[in-house]
């Protein structure tokens, strides 16, 4: 690892400690989306911010080696496709698009609310990947020779 890229050693050390916790928190928000405030979008944003935290602290080069960007791009499209497939399943099993066709389970338990937790997870992946990749692509833009902002 190139120690010169990215920010200072202090930032890198703190990031190393905090990023897993932030991702864990994001997962918590996503998984409890049907019970508490938050959900797929909010949790996805938190996970995207954790990944961006790594990008800012360690630099683009390091993040590129750490994450498989191509895979993340595919994951973004796959999650959106899964959402649509789940919606169409509601149509095939029941009557309408996005019908909640799984058993609703017990109230206020983690395994309840039918398809909503599944949709939340899918949305979480989609939002996390999209937001991260948007900033990733924008950060990759370079100015032309002799151009200034």
């Amino acid at each position: 690892m190139d120690n010169n890229s990215g920010m200072t050693i202090i930032v890198k050390t703190i990031t190393r400690i905090t990023v897993p916790i932030i991702i864990l928190y994001g997962c918590y928000i996503i998984f409890h989306g049907h019970l508490t405030p938050g959900g797929g979008f909010a949790g996805g944003v938190i996970i995207a911010l954790a990944l961006l935290n790594v990008m800012i602290a360690f630099g683009r080069e390091f993040t590129n080696n750490w994450l498989n960007i191509n895979f993340l791009e595919k994951l973004e499209s796959i999650s959106a496709t899964l959402f649509l497939v789940l919606g169409i399943l509601g149509f095939l099993i029941g009557t309408t698009f996005l019908l909640n066709f799984i058993s609703k389970g017990e109230l206020f338990r983690l395994l309840s609310a039918g398809t909503i937790p599944v949709l939340n997870i899918i949305i979480g992946i989609k939002v996390a990947m999209s937001l991260f990749l948007v900033v990733w692509v924008l950060a990759g833009l370079k100015l032309d020779e002799g151009e200034s902002l």
Binding site: E73, S77, I78, A80, T81, L84, I88, G94, T96, F97
Partner: protein
């Protein structure tokens, strides 16, 4: 119940293209043509089976004010057919045309998002959902305008993006005000509440919406983005933007909100009429002055949108009939003219009318179809454009506006002059051009010939028996504006 699939199919296609397509665009092109063919066939199937009824589709089985519902009436089916038709021909046209820019699948994914957004705006029965789908369509349109990757294209896309986002913000503010006044976002429910709220709020929100949707429809004075964006975009995208996008995001949204929700207040109808005539005249003059072929066509789009708005503003059955018919006709001949311009640009490498010439021998299909489209748009019988303009002009006389009628006739002469300029300088002039090879492919010719045929065939819609089943139900939907609310809410 295939209504939600008008959104699902293009969305699924876009993501499938992103997952599966490799470096080449063969698969992406094939898949997107297939899915837009499905959309067109679905819309035609709905036309033949359900044109006379209103269908409300509850997503996830949630009832109207709580969940989002999709509404299908004859106006919806009509717009879906236009989107399906123009997107299918544009995709067939794109296969060869886009390869001279790049062979990337991203074009087709963005194109599918554009269709998703437009179909979403058309089928939705919820005001905020309409806004979201409008944004999907707009953002993909920004990206597609800049697809060529040259400086002027980026400038046009940036200008379009700024203007589009400002107008979207206005629409959002309007939605917020309307929501605070009526406590609901379902269009039918808002329509039910409108008589109970202060008329001042209706006028305020109406003004904001007129500015927001007016910018999307490129009505003068909100038109400044259009000539840049439509002339810089790749030709099939220009055809989509000019042929469908400004109508779906602008005119269709205006019809739904001002007619079906607000109940067509007299005050706004007069504004539509005035803005319509202003658009016809000013854009007509600006079109004549252009030497860039696509820019000329872009200005002429604004002037034709003026006719549609004039017809809507007259508000009589005949006026709305003319507006709806002209909307359909304009989608066909303007898309065709943009295909012609794209084909000429690809072969000669220029859009400047002064540098073209002697193209009739070299490009027989392009020059003949462009002649048909020019005659149709100028309102020469027996083409479809003649009948729709005639209906609008008769409606204007009947409603007692002889002055506006005279101006609309002058606008038609302006269109003729502008398009004659294209024919005279673009195709028939004696300029020596060095080009000897025509690179228009079969797909491009097929798209052009199909639309040229429809310029003829479109005119049969005016035969009373056919009009009864095609255009009359649409006029009924727009005219009996409170019916919409009653049927959707099941009253």
């Amino acid at each position: 119940m295939i209504l939600p699939f008008f959104i699902i199919i293009p969305l699924l296609t876009a993501f499938l293209i992103a997952i599966v397509a490799g470096k080449k665009d063969n698969f992406a092109n094939g898949l997107s043509i297939f899915s837009s063919l499905l959309l067109l066939l679905g819309a035609i199937y709905n036309f033949f089976t359900q044109n006379q009824e209103v269908i409300v589709y509850k997503i996830g089985n949630w009832k109207a004010p709580i969940g989002i519902n999709l509404v299908q009436d004859s106006l919806t089916i009509f717009m879906l057919i236009i989107v399906g038709l123009i997107s299918l021909t544009s995709l067939i046209y794109s296969r060869q045309y886009i390869r001279h820019i790049s062979t990337n699948w991203k074009y087709y994914a963005l194109f599918m998002f554009l269709i998703t957004g437009m179909n979403g705006v058309i089928v939705t029965g919820d005001l905020f959902n309409l806004f979201v789908f409008m944004e999907i369509a707009l953002i993909s349109a920004f990206a597609l305008v800049a697809y060529g990757g040259k400086a002027e294209e980026f400038e046009a896309a940036f200008k379009y993006a700024i203007m589009g986002v400002v107008s979207s913000t206005f629409i959002l503010v309007g939605i917020a005000i309307l929501y605070s006044a009526t406590s609901t976002l379902t269009l039918a429910k808002i329509a039910e509440q409108i008589p109970n709220i202060s008329y001042k709020i209706v006028y305020l929100v109406g003004g904001i919406f007129l500015m927001g949707f007016g910018l999307k429809a490129a009505i003068i004075p909100f038109h400044t983005w259009l000539p840049d964006a439509h002339s810089s975009a790749p030709a099939p995208i220009s055809a989509m933007l000019s042929g469908v996008l400004i109508k779906v995001l602008g005119i269709y949204a205006i019809i739904r909100i001002f007619f079906n929700v607000f109940g067509a207040p007299e005050f706004f109808l007069n504004i539509f009429m005035t803005l319509g005539v202003i658009s016809i005249l000013i854009a007509g003059f600006l079109a004549i002055a252009q030497w860039d072929m696509k820019r000329l066509l872009a200005y002429s789009s604004i002037s034709q949108i003026g006719y549609i708005l004039l017809g809507l503003g007259i508000g009589s059955t005949l006026g709305i009939l003319g507006a709806v018919f002209h909307l359909f006709n304009h989608a066909i001949f303007k898309s065709l003219l943009f295909y012609n311009a794209g084909s000429v640009e690809m072969t000669t490498g220029t859009r400047d009318l002064k540098k073209m010439g002697k193209l009739t021998k070299l490009m027989p299909v392009t020059s003949k179809t462009s002649m048909i489209a020019s005659l149709a748009i100028s309102g020469i019988p027996p083409f479809n454009g003649f009948f729709s303009k005639l209906i609008i002009i008769i409606a204007a006389i009947q409603s007692g506006h002889p002055f506006l009628t005279a101006l609309a006739v002058i606008g038609s002469i302006q269109t003729l002059a502008a398009l004659l300029k294209v024919q005279r300088f673009g195709f028939h002039s004696e300029n020596k051009t060095k080009i000897t090879k025509n690179i228009t492919s079969f797909g491009m010719k097929f798209a052009m010939i199909t639309l040229a045929f429809l310029c003829f065939a479109g005119a049969i819609v005016i035969i009373p028996e056919i009009k009864e089943v095609t255009l009359d139900p649409i006029v009924e939907v727009i005219n009996n504006n409170s019916e919409y609310m009653k049927i959707v809410l099941g009253r």
